[in-house]
């Protein structure tokens, strides 16, 4: 539980917050729940939800959890702002030494620099905060004046500098810009700002109306963080006017209570290397040192930011949960499109089978020629192939329909789904296998029946003991099953050969077999069509879990 600093007063030397372990547990559960969410389908709001999730994770990992675990860690003030606003010069001037390179080329700072008192270094050298940034050793006198800093392989790093001019308990972080052409800089800056106890937003006389920093300021207000604004590089002659206008803008945005500092434009601010005179940054320095030393002010700063983040969870978690629900709904719609297509096609296949569509084309020609000019085997071959084509055709038609339907679904454009599952050739192969297996089982049934006929001679109506050829029985059976009306004479023929009773039994078994194999083919293909969607792992559960984790956390506060 966090308490307002003002209630505790100034007396205690060591800052302690009464943070219950349950709250930390609840937060870690909440963090895991957030980390478990996925937004693979490009529905409306998915990009936003992804960014939201990233940012939530960063704030939890980089700020909230470490801060609540170790409230006595130094106060971290992140100096952020536009490119060319003079952030690095400001940091250098605050510590009175050149610790981070400033320059005229934009963007200047690419590797963030953390400055702290030597006694505080252990807080930052570990993975307590900003665990995803590799720590880089402080390099002395590394200046790149006039040259581009060499691109660092692997990119993301954090340089830690120690200076004893900075009081213990305060750390400054020189962040990259928020609006330059280098996209990694912008992302990194946003990430660093998430880790801040105090945001120091630097802007300039030329920039104070820019859209991007204002966006950040509004975010700061939303999260109710401890915010300081610095109006940098203000030419002497217009100081009053510009700072008055800036104040008006801030007040209009509801940020009137944030401390404002104005730093005039001096020859040193443009030169790159120079430090501003200490008088120029004295008020800001005093303010920051006061935050670090005065327990009340410090607690107030920390509590305000931490509470702000936790309060913002109340709005952001439901938003995330809503996005999860939207994902699930989109996935359901996609699945429904597939199911519907397969169901309709299944019905169509059943209709075609009943109408005897398989006994057409070459199969029909074979049947007309049977038995004089066609062997039973050829007839069976033709029938089986025809059946395979019927099923393959159905699958291809479904595929086309699903593709069409998915194209109109926002979620259907997900990268994993638009890549077509490896071809119909494979479907052809699979269907061919299944159909041939059906044929084999059918032949076995026919053989069984004929053998049964042999075993029970009294059942036979044949007078001369000539057993009917199993192959012919199978061919007739297949024709009767697949031929619809046209195959009726095959059924009669079959009955003559093995008796009405046996024929009926055989047809019954064969029919059931056919139905089950057709169902199997279609359901297997359906599964395969849905496999990439299933692989995306869109489930409804995270929605409830997120909300549950949030309410647990709110209860524990």
């Amino acid at each position: 539980m966090l308490q307002k600093g003002s209630k505790i007063g100034h007396s205690s030397h060591v800052v302690t917050f009464d943070v219950r372990p349950q709250l930390l547990d609840a937060l870690s559960v909440l963090r895991d729940r957030v980390a478990a969410t996925r937004f693979p389908l490009p529905v409306a709001g998915a990009a936003r939800a992804r960014a939201n999730r990233e940012e939530l994770l960063l704030q939890l990992d980089d700020y909230l959890v470490p801060r609540l675990k170790e409230p006595e860690a130094p106060l971290l003030a992140v100096i952020g702002g536009s490119t060319g606003a003079g952030k690095s010069t400001l940091v250098n001037s605050l510590v009175g030494r050149q610790v981070t390179e400033a320059g005229v080329l934009r963007p200047t700072t690419r590797t963030p620099v953390l400055v702290c008192h030597p006694d505080d270094q252990h807080w930052f050298s570990g993975k307590r905060v900003l665990p995803q940034l590799a720590r880089v050793r402080a390099t002395k006198q590394e200046t790149w004046r006039g040259r581009r800093p060499p691109a660092r392989p692997g990119g993301r790093a954090l340089r830690i500098e120690t200076v004893d001019t900075l009081p213990p308990g305060l750390a400054l972080l020189d962040a990259p810009d928020v609006d330059s052409l280098v996209a990694e800089n912008r992302l990194l800056a946003a990430e660093l700002i998430c880790a801040a106890d105090v945001w120091v937003m630097v802007t300039t006389a030329a920039r104070y109306a820019d859209a991007v920093p204002w966006h950040l300021l509004r975010t700061a207000k939303e999260h109710n963080v401890t915010l300081v604004t610095v109006l940098d590089r203000v030419p002497h002659q217009v100081v009053t006017e510009v700072s008055r206008q800036y104040a008006a803008l801030l007040t209009k945005a509801g940020l009137g209570d944030a401390p404002r500092f104005t730093v005039p434009e001096l020859p040193e601010s443009a030169g790159g290397g120079g430090l501003l005179p200490s008088t120029a940054v004295a008020p800001l320095r005093t303010w920051l040192v006061h935050r670090a030393h005065d327990m009340g002010a410090r607690r107030q700063a920390i509590v305000r930011t931490a509470n702000g983040v936790m309060n913002s969870l109340g709005a952001r978690m439901p938003e995330l949960a809503g996005a999860v629900a939207a994902q699930h709904a989109a996935a359901l719609r996609l699945t429904a499109a597939v199911d519907e297509a397969y169901e309709e096609e299944h019905a169509r296949v059943r209709g075609r089978l009943q109408a005897g569509a398989v006994l057409a084309g070459d199969a029909l020609k074979r049947w007309r020629a049977y038995p004089l000019d066609c062997t039973p085997e050829e007839l069976l071959d033709a029938l089986v192939e025809s059946l395979g084509t019927l099923l393959l055709n159905a699958v291809a038609a479904v595929d086309e329909r699903v593709e069409e339907a998915w194209r109109h679904e926002p979620g259907g454009l997900a990268p994993g789904l638009t890549v077509r599952a490896p071809g119909l050739e494979n479907a052809e192969h699979r269907i061919g296998m299944t159909v041939r297996r059906w044929r084999r089982v059918l032949e076995e049934h026919a053989e069984d029946e004929v053998r049964g006929l042999d075993a029970a001679p009294d059942m036979r109506r044949t007078s001369r003991g000539v057993a009917p050829d199993p192959e012919a029985v199978a061919a007739l059976l297949a024709t009767a099953l697949l031929g619809g009306r046209r195959g009726r004479s095959a059924g009669e023929n079959l009955a003559e050969r093995i008796g009405a009773h046996g024929a009926l039994r055989l047809r019954d078994r064969g029919g059931r077999l056919l139905t089950s194999y057709v169902d199997k083919v279609l359901s297997v293909e359906r599964e395969r069509r849905l496999a990439p969607l299933d692989a995306l792992g869109v489930h409804p559960e995270p929605q409830a879990e997120l909300i549950a984790a949030l309410s647990v956390m709110q209860k524990e506060r």
């Binding site: 990009a47 060319g84 990430e191 030329a206 109306a209 966006h215 950040l216 057409a360 038995p371």
Partner: protein, 674 residues
């Protein structure tokens, strides 16, 4: 929402536009050979940027590139659009490079250039000196007309929104054409606080636009025209009367900047969204733009990602000036300028250095006046050329064409291969059962022949066997169904149509692929019924099959064998009874000759019958197959082919839009390059 969202969203938004500009140049540029049969000679290719190099006789590097790139490009098997060949030839023409071996322009390698748009602008370089209207006549009119026709032709296939965008280019071009050619409208754009208004005032010589410290300062565009008659242009820009000004009268600069209309724009990056909208609206209408940047803001993402990258093709009508250099100490100004050039290059903007056409980059200070003179000179020259309007329209056209590219450019040559047609015919033949019918006909013929030529005894025995056999096992002709309805296998027909449509549509841009599939599906609807009819009409003819000439002879011989047996038998019988004189030899001989000869004749006939039977069967199969194939061609292949032809036609129009519409180029290139 939050910081991260803001940044990423912004990126998401701006990337596609930035990307499209670049995708343009680096599109498929495979082996050359325009519409006709693949011509091995036309292997030269280049994107516009390199054709530009070639034109300034930078041949060495160009040819190296060409050699380096030729081989891999040829092997990747992509179909050459002919788009590139044309532009190359154009560049070759313009440059009039002496060695026509492959055309100087042809030597340009296919860089990952940003170049289509630029290339279009490039070719204009040769005619720089001619006034605007001539430029328009020679270069632009044909392309604009082609674009108009292209839009007309593809209206039924493409969605309205895509075409509306291209149509807008046409409208704007026409609107600009109607207005004064004497004037060049130049807008000053930039971020808030970069000093747009200061520069505007410095150029005009008087304070027209308020330059203040309050950000953002300028809220509405202000115009300043150096000569009269620009009212129509300003009306088009929707600039109110009270904001139209005149520059200060200067004694010496009377003739300078004649025809210039300068517009001071609001910022594009402040928190006031209305400013941005105004900037976007006016930027689409002006002839040229001066981008004002300052040392603080020259690397801003908004400027580069939202404006400069998408407008990379407009480099020739772009000035970029680095303002406020007075704020930079010493050599920092030079460093910053170099860095700015590097960023512009990364944006894909060609820089007008070393005499190449491209954007002009200058450093100046509107406050101190340093460098303003240079800008004035550059502007003066630029305005005097009076080519800006045409160049701008041309760049717009290039950009529109680049956007349309995925809708028109195919990955491979469209059309159905012979193999695909063959396969389609095979599938249809299977659907009507041609092969089965042929086999059945062959066997029936053989059976009949054997029956006719067999020995009577054997036939008698078979008949007896059959009579005693159980009813069910007795071979009998299949039920004589008169005419089968739905004789053609529906599923096979459907599958065949689907396969052939997919093959025809493969590699086509999506809308055209869809059109081809639809044409095939429409044609496929009546196909099964037509095939049913084919199965009946082209089936084996009713009545007796034709018989070979030797058949009666064989029957006669077989009969005589039987007669011999009978005679021999009777003779022997007569001896037994005693009617005839005992003579064992002759009758036995006769009888045994008959007994042996009968099967022999049967066997011989069996062998002799094979050939004709096979021919008969093959003939039956061929008849059915051909009828089915003809049916398929009429129903499916022809509509599909028509659709493909239509696409081809549209594509050629598109090539006309892209390339500079001179037709001589291709022929010239194909004849000069072996």
């Amino acid at each position: 929402m939050t910081a991260v969202t803001a940044v990423t969203d912004h990126r998401d938004h701006s990337d596609p536009t930035g990307g499209s500009g670049e995708a343009h140049g680096s599109g498929p540029s495979g082996t050359s050979g325009a519409e006709g049969e693949p011509n091995p000679g036309r292997t030269s290719r280049a994107t516009g940027r390199d054709s530009g190099h070639a034109r300034v006789e930078d041949d060495d590097q160009g040819s190296e590139d060409a050699r380096g790139n030729r081989r891999p490009r040829e092997t990747d098997g992509a179909w050459d659009d002919g788009l590139i060949a044309r532009r190359v030839s154009q560049a070759g023409d313009d440059g009039a490079a002496g060695d026509t071996e492959g055309g100087a322009g042809g030597e340009g390698g296919a860089h990952e250039g940003r170049g289509g748009a630029h290339g279009g602008a490039e070719s204009r370089g040769g005619a720089d000196a001619s006034p605007g209207s001539t430029l328009y006549e020679t270069q632009l009119r044909g392309r604009l007309d082609s674009l108009r026709e292209l839009i007309g032709l593809s209206r039924t296939r493409l969605d309205r929104k895509t075409l509306a965008e291209a149509g807008r280019v046409l409208d704007e071009a026409a609107a600009r054409r109607r207005l004064s050619e004497e004037h060049t409208v130049v807008a000053i754009a930039g971020a808030t606080g970069s000093g747009k208004s200061s520069l505007f005032n410095a150029l005009a010589g008087v304070t027209i636009s308020d330059a203040g410290v309050r950000r953002p300062t300028t809220a509405a565009p202000v115009a300043c025209s150096w000569t009269d008659g620009a009212a129509g242009l300003l009306d088009r820009l929707d600039i109110p009367m009270r904001l139209r000004r005149r520059p200060a009268k200067s004694p010496d600069g009377e003739a300078q900047l004649r025809g210039l209309v300068l517009i001071d724009l609001p910022d594009h990056d402040s928190a006031v969204a209305a400013h941005r909208e105004q900037v976007d609206r006016i930027l689409a209408l002006v002839d040229a733009v001066i981008w004002v940047v300052d040392p603080e803001k020259y690397g801003d993402a908004v400027l580069h990602e939202r404006y400069l990258r998408p407008l990379a093709g407009h480099a020739e009508v772009t000035f970029v000036v680095l303002n406020q250099v007075d704020r930079l100490p010493g050599d920092a100004a030079e460093q910053v300028l170099d860095d700015l050039r590097r960023l512009l290059d990364e944006d894909g903007i060609a820089l007008g250095e070393y005499g190449e056409p491209g954007a002009t980059v200058l450093a100046l200070s509107a406050l101190t006046g340093e460098g303003v003179g240079e800008l004035r000179d550059a502007l003066d020259q630029f305005v005097a050329e009076r080519g800006a309007a045409v160049r701008r329209i041309s760049a717009d056209l290039d950009a529109a064409a680049a956007r349309l590219r995925p809708l028109y450019a195919a990955e491979r040559r469209p059309g159905l291969s012979e193999a695909a047609r063959e396969e389609f015919a095979d599938r249809l033949a299977e659907a009507v059962g041609a092969e089965a019918a042929g086999e059945a006909a062959e066997r029936a013929w053989t059976r009949n022949a054997n029956k006719a030529c067999g020995t009577p005894w054997l036939r008698l025995w078979r008949w007896y066997e059959a009579r005693n056999a159980p009813l069910a096992l007795r071979p009998r002709p299949g039920p004589q169904a008169p005419v089968d309805e739905e004789a053609a296998a529906r599923q096979r027909v459907e599958q065949a149509v689907r396969m052939v449509a997919n093959k025809a549509a493969y590699g086509l841009p999506a809308p055209w692929a869809q059109a081809v599939r639809e044409a095939a599906a429409r044609g496929g609807q009546g196909l099964p019924e037509a095939l049913d009819e084919v199965a009946v009409t082209a089936g084996p003819p009713a009545g007796r099959p034709p018989r070979p000439g030797w058949w009666p002879l064989a029957v006669l011989v077989q009969a005589s064998m039987t007669i011999l047996q009978v005679i021999g038998g009777l003779w022997l019988l007569g001896q037994v009874i005693g009617i005839t004189s005992p003579n064992l030899g002759v009758p036995v001989l006769l009888m045994s000759a008959g007994i042996v000869g009968g099967p022999c004749v049967e066997r011989a006939c069996g062998v002799a019958v094979r050939g004709p039977a096979r021919r008969y069967g093959a003939e039956a199969e061929r008849r059915l197959r051909e009828a089915a194939a003809a049916c398929g061609k009429a129903h499916v292949l022809d509509p599909v082919g028509a659709e493909l032809l239509r696409y081809q036609e549209v594509r050629e129009k598109y090539v006309d839009v892209i390339g500079v519409g001179r037709t001589g180029g291709v022929t010239k290139l194909s004849t000069t390059s072996r």
